[in-house]
Amino acid sequence: MPKKKYSSGNPTAKSDFYVEFVPNNSGGVKIDIQSKTKVLHFSKIENSCQNTLADLKIKHGKLSVIDNGGQYFVLQARIEVVVKSAHPGIINESLPLLKKHAQYKSSRNRFRRSRLYLPGTQAKLMLNAGIHQPDAIILDLEDSIAPSEKNSARIIVRNALRTLDFFGAERMVRINQGNLGLKDLEAIVPHNVHLILVPKVENAKQLKAVDDKIQNIRKDCGRKEPVYLMPILESAKGILNSFEIAKASKNNVAIAIGLEDYTADIGVERTNQGRESLFARSQVVNAARSAGIQAIDTVFSDVGDDVGLRLSVQEAKELGFDGKGCIHPRQIKPIHEEFAPSKTEIEKAKKIVLAFDIAEKKGLGVVSLGSKMIDPPVVKRALQTIDLAIATKLLNKNWKKN
């Protein structure tokens, strides 16, 4: 009887590895490598295979690798996945070195104007994602991953989090729904993920389950920094429960809306004008504001339509959103440009902030500009405008001195 074969990946996928493992009780380890660039990569691939098997304490079995130009941390992940499918009892992990550039922190109130979705198995897209300077990069384990690749994606994303430099972008992962999502957390949380996107949240309980799981993992692995949460509301129920969801955890920093599923749920076509989702989007903005967190708009899915994207961002900004999802690096720049404050907004904000400074210096409780009294929320908003203007290089950091 032929021995059972365990596999990870697709033998013809470009820029990837395909790995097969046939376990055995004796005969030692055999490694077979097929690669078009053997001349340059053979010894690295071979070392990587041997080291990963050693990490997992595998002494016997046949490992076959087809190299189509993948990244080594992907190879390591796929080997771990096939070995563990063959030997479910193994609890060891084969972790790539945690790089220094993968250890930077995030902060609660940072900008989240653009967040770039990348399929969790597409390492090739991850390597340079950071150079396009999105505010956040999302390594996706949910909708962009086929069911057969879920186990592999989880480990590839874990390894990516330890290996890659995202050049200051907030490091986000979108987990799966339900129990699969909780399993994702076990792999991801110990490796400096900054924020977890929780899909299709419909009530506070679902979010709390995720948050509780994260707190347990943090305790076990000794992680001190918080893991922020961004629930995504994608159904009528989720929208109606948006306020309870928004304040369900102190780790929530934003709530997002996902319109593909929402429009399907309420039984309408999604249009570019977006009248069908006006209520939902306004609801999300109001829920976020009342919970003191950010509101993030859905993705604009026509990558080639720059004008449409800009109009969509302008509308999001007018409705009160702080950010927008993107599915291609070319969407980042237009999003940042459209979220940037206008000249008039900046000039007005400068006057308010200066008036606030004077009031503080004089110890006055009330801020006034000319004959007008300025309320505290207006001052807060002006400060945000100034921050955004500085971030988008429309205003010098030392503007008060000039």
Partner: protein
């Protein structure tokens, strides 16, 4: 000046003396039986004497009616009295859509000819059948760019002779030096008259221009014009003069203009490459190069094409107009001409059908040739007058040396084109990704030296811009630009860590399979066979 360092064999068993040239590379002193001069340094070779010349022709040997049309291609080739070992040449203006040259060698094969030298200005994947002709001995070897399947054939050491890789300007130089004597030149022409005047800008197979065939028409013993659009004398305009032509052949179809647009001439969709293109345009602006009356050339690679688009937007924004742009033209350059952003396109070849249309219709779109643009033996050429040129490379090293013909695995895959000639511009920029599919592009030493680092001013990658330390002026000009200007070693270190370098090195044998010529005809480097 040079000392013999070693004696090696070629794959065909010939002995070759290798000498270390001024660039520190081991090169043969005899290439395919012709004595060769090792590279002496940039601008250090001063040949004397007179140029080569074609044999004297007498007009009374040709029909007084001016009608040189013969029955068929076979007929024309027979009349040329081709002998074994002769050299057959052609231009590459149809790029991957050439329908003539495979037919030429099929006819010569049937006629039992052997050991011919094919001397194209470039070859393309459509010329794969030539491998068959090399296997059966019809073609001894090829001197010209070796792309795709032909590159592989030569890389495997199967070619009976060394590949000689020359720049477009270097091809002209080699003919004028007498290093390559063309016995028969084939000039595929989209429109021609019976006298042999021809043009590339019109006709059902219009390919733009015919400048690469000019040297062949002037120096070959016999010249055959092949057309699928014979017009009554005179063919106006003409780029090739019928006075240099022996025979005219009419065929059903000489080329497929749709295939002029080959892979290297398509605009990139890669966000990383677009990012590099934008960064390059920003650099050109920040360095003060983009000003009224300036000039630039952007090569055929997708990134270089995108560069022109970004630069165009910046020029429009600042109200700046160029005096001239050097082609290969594309629709993007044509748009700039039509929108008044440049006075002229000085075009060497057309990369798409919009370019073909424009050169036919617009007097500001001017045809040129490697003689005007690149030739080392001209009294000057246009390349050195350019304010900026944007090019690609397969590899660069920390000393700014660059490679365009081999990959890090040692396989010979690309021709030089005008790349080497363009290095003489006032600001030479290589816009390249810092890695390709896990293979780092910045090395300690390039696999094959094609461009000496002293001529390469700037390397733009998605991870930063490295300026050659020799160009203090550029460093100073862009200091406060906010652009990511970094040391090349620093970018290299970052990429090495990302891709897990150092990788294995290919196991090079001491069999020489080809040489790279410098623009002055000296031998810059050798290509060695990789052991499998």
């Amino acid at each position: 000046m040079f000392s013999v360092v070693s004696v090696v064999k070629t794959s065909m068993g010939q002995k070759l003396k290798l000498i270390k040239n001024k660039a520190g590379r081991m090169v043969p002193t005899i290439v395919n039986g012709v004595k060769s001069i090792p590279f002496k340094g940039v601008g250090k070779h001063f040949p004397k004497g007179v140029k080569a010349a074609p044999p004297i022709s007498i007009c009374q040997d040709y029909p007084t009616s001016g009608n040189k049309v013969v029955d068929s291609l076979k007929d024309a080739l027979e009349k040329c009295n081709i002998k074994n070992g002769m050299t057959i040449s052609n231009h590459h203006h149809f790029r991957n859509g050439d329908l003539v040259m495979n037919k030429v060698f099929d006819i010569l094969a049937k006629a039992g000819k052997k050991n011919l030298r094919w001397f194209p200005s470039a070859s393309f994947p459509c010329h794969e059948p030539m491998t068959k002709h090399m296997e059966n001995g019809v073609i001894g070897h090829i001197e010209g760019s070796l792309n795709g399947p032909l590159g592989k054939y030569a890389s495997d050491g199967k070619m009976n002779g060394l590949a000689v890789l020359r720049s477009h300007g270097g091809r002209w130089q080699a003919v004028q030096d007498g290093e390559v004597h063309i016995d028969v030149a084939i000039i595929a022409a989209p429109t021609a008259d019976a006298f042999g005047n021809c043009t590339g800008d019109r006709g059902p197979s219009a390919c733009g221009l015919l400048g690469f065939g000019l040297v062949d028409s002037l120096y070959a013993d016999k010249v055959i014009v092949v057309t699928d659009n014979l017009v009554e004398f005179p063919c106006i305009p003409w780029q090739i003069q019928g006075n240099n032509v022996d025979y005219v052949v009419v065929m059903d179809k000489v080329g497929d203009p749709e295939k002029i647009v080959s892979g290297t001439t398509r605009l990139t969709k890669s966000p990383d490459r677009l990012f590099i293109a934008e960064l390059t345009a920003k650099f050109v602006k920040a360095a003060g190069i983009m000003k009224d009356g300036f000039s630039f050339q952007a090569g055929a690679g997708g990134t270089a094409l995108a560069f022109a688009i970004y630069l165009k937007e910046m020029m429009k924004e600042k109200g700046i107009k160029a005096r001239f742009i050097r082609g290969g033209s594309t629709k993007y350059l044509v748009e700039m001409l039509e929108e008044g952003l440049t006075d002229y396109i000085l075009d060497g070849q057309t990369f798409d059908l919009e370019g073909v249309r424009s050169i036919r219709e617009n007097v500001g779109h001017v045809n040129t040739s490697p003689f005007t643009s690149y030739n080392w033996h001209g009294k000057g050429n246009f390349a050195s007058m350019l304010d900026a040129v944007v090019l690609g490379a397969t590899e660069v090293d920390v000393n700014f040396n660059a490679n365009v013909v081999t990959h890090s695995d040692g396989q010979m895959l690309h021709g030089i084109g005008g790349w080497q000639n363009c290095l003489s511009s006032k600001c030479t920029i290589l816009s390249i990704p810092s890695f390709r599919n896990r293979i780092p592009i910045i090395l300690n030493k390039v696999t094959t030296l094609v461009g000496p680092g002293e001529l390469i001013d700037v390397i733009v990658t998605e991870r930063g811009i490295a300026i050659n330390p020799k160009r203090e002026d550029l460093i100073k000009a862009t200091k406060r630009s906010g652009l990511p200007i970094r040391k090349i070693e620093e970018i290299k270190e970052e990429v090495d860590e990302l891709v897990g370098a150092p990788l294995d090195r290919p196991n090079f044998t001491d069999e020489v399979i080809g040489v790279v010529k410098w623009v002055d005809g000296t031998v810059l480097d050798s290509i060695f066979k990789v052991a499998h």
